[in-house]
């Protein structure tokens, strides 16, 4: 193995990035526009704006879309199944946080 390379880099919090267009979301998630439109229709993603060309997404949406794509690819579920899985995962996270906050 070669000598390790070394670099310094400043990270940005991905979920807090905002104002991403539909095209940028597609590029970040490497998915087709139609797939994202279907995910919005299914309620997996809830962008600001009414029309696709006005939609504005955040980094949180990007992460959510990536998970939805992985669940569909790896588990063979459809959009509705991915939406349900994400909703249940959200609820598990909330319950875990509540449990932890109670000590």
């Amino acid at each position: 193995m070669n000598q390790p390379q070394h670099a310094e880099i400043t990270g940005a919090i991905h979920e807090e990035q905002s104002d991403l267009s539909l095209a940028e979301l597609c590029q970040r998630c490497r998915v087709r526009t139609e797939l994202v439109i279907e995910m919005v229709e299914e309620g997996v993603l809830t962008p600001q704006g009414t029309q696709p060309e006005q939609w504005r997404f955040t980094g949180w949406h990007v992460q959510r879309a990536r998970v939805a794509v992985r669940l569909q690819r790896d588990l063979g579920v459809n959009h509705a199944g991915a939406a349900l899985a994400l909703q249940l995962l959200d609820e598990i996270e909330i319950l875990k946080a509540r449990l932890q906050a109670r000590g």
Binding site: N2, H6, A12, I13, Q63, D74
Partner: protein, 328 residues
């Protein structure tokens, strides 16, 4: 290299039908998918299952694997000398592995079913019908890693050195691993579960393809005293009965330093005192909560015991279980 018992990995008999294999994969994938199962070890199990499924679902690969005979999992193994003879050439378009995953696949898979089987090209290089990897253009894959920080680091920001094993192609188009050290500045205000995106630090692209991104998922180290709920931070704060009853001003620790806290007179156990905006920082900072716990002094002397007896006499009408309907 070590033998991989793909049937054992998937909990299947060697005569499993394609339907059995698919069903077992779906069940195991649902159980161990890293987006669903956050337990330690789930991600590795998911990769093992994916590797086993990539072989067993493909009739040609499965037949070749079966022809190797039965060996124990982990047993030292060498492929037969004629392994790559009479195989059809060309990449399997259903190949499920990405470059990053291929770099993490077992030696067993790499030797028998990647480079040694059917002359398969790695995924992002193939599928266009040619053999010269340099002629292709494809974007690199994103990569993921976890980074553990203390809660206090989120208040102040911090730096973490991470060592990546980055898959790289050599001149023959083979994937090899190279170590890369990154000193990453973790921004103030990051929360557990969020990702730090390092643009262009994922797998390199092919040809003029763009490199992928590296995502660092942030986890907080467990803390002995603080609990976290999204942006809010909680601390159980022990106070004496007289501090709670009579009120007091005390100095207490928080992740952003010590603060002077006023305990209002007449406080009871479980009362929450909020320090607005002193939770995890950000555009909308969280709040910090002290949750009062009443700590009783030990009755470890005759004088202390006498004090408790005096209190019992003084508070005869006090009914701590009145809400339960109990009168004594």
């Amino acid at each position: 290299m070590e033998f991989k018992d793909y049937y054992k990995v998937m909990g299947l008999a060697r005569d499993a039908t394609p339907e059995n294999i698919k069903r077992a994969y779906r069940q195991l994938a649902r159980k161990n998918h890293p987006d669903v199962n956050k337990e330690a070890g789930a991600e590795q199990r998911f990769k093992d299952i994916g590797e086993a499924y990539a072989v067993l679902k493909d009739p040609e690969k499965r037949a070749a694997y079966d022809a190797l005979g039965t060996h124990r999992e982990g047993q030292e193994f060498r492929p037969p000398p004629d392994w790559n003879a009479n195989r059809a050439h060309g990449r399997d378009p259903r190949e499920p592995f990405t470059d990053a995953e291929a770099a993490e696949a077992s030696d067993f898979f790499e030797t028998l079913f990647r480079h040694g089987f059917g002359g398969a090209q790695p995924r992002s290089a193939g599928g266009v019908g040619g053999a010269d990897a340099h002629a292709f253009q494809a974007d690199g894959e994103d990569q993921y890693a976890k980074v553990l920080i203390a809660l206090e680091d989120s208040y102040a920001g911090t730096m973490r050195r991470i060592v990546l094993r980055v898959p790289e192609r050599d001149d023959d188009g083979r994937v090899r691993l190279r170590e890369q050290q990154l000193d990453v500045t973790i921004p103030r205000g990051v929360r557990a579960g969020q990702h730090i995106r390092l643009a262009g630090r994922g797998t390199p692209g092919m040809g003029n393809g763009k490199p992928g991104d590296l995502f660092l998922e942030v986890e907080f180290e467990p803390h002995a005293h603080y609990r976290i709920d999204k942006r809010d931070v909680y601390l159980d704060l022990p106070v004496s009965p007289w501090e709670a009853t009579l009120g007091a001003e005390i100095v207490v620790p928080t992740p952003s330093g010590e603060v002077e806290l006023k305990i209002p007179a007449g406080s009871v156990a479980g009362r929450k005192l909020r320090l607005k905006g002193r939770g995890i920082p950000g555009n909308t900072p969280g709040d910090f909560y002290f949750v009062l716990q009443i700590a009783l002094p030990p009755a470890d002397s005759e004088a202390a015991n006498q004090l408790y007896r005096d209190m019992a006499a003084q508070f005869k009408s006090f009914q701590p279980r009145a809400k339960l309907g109990a009168s004594t």
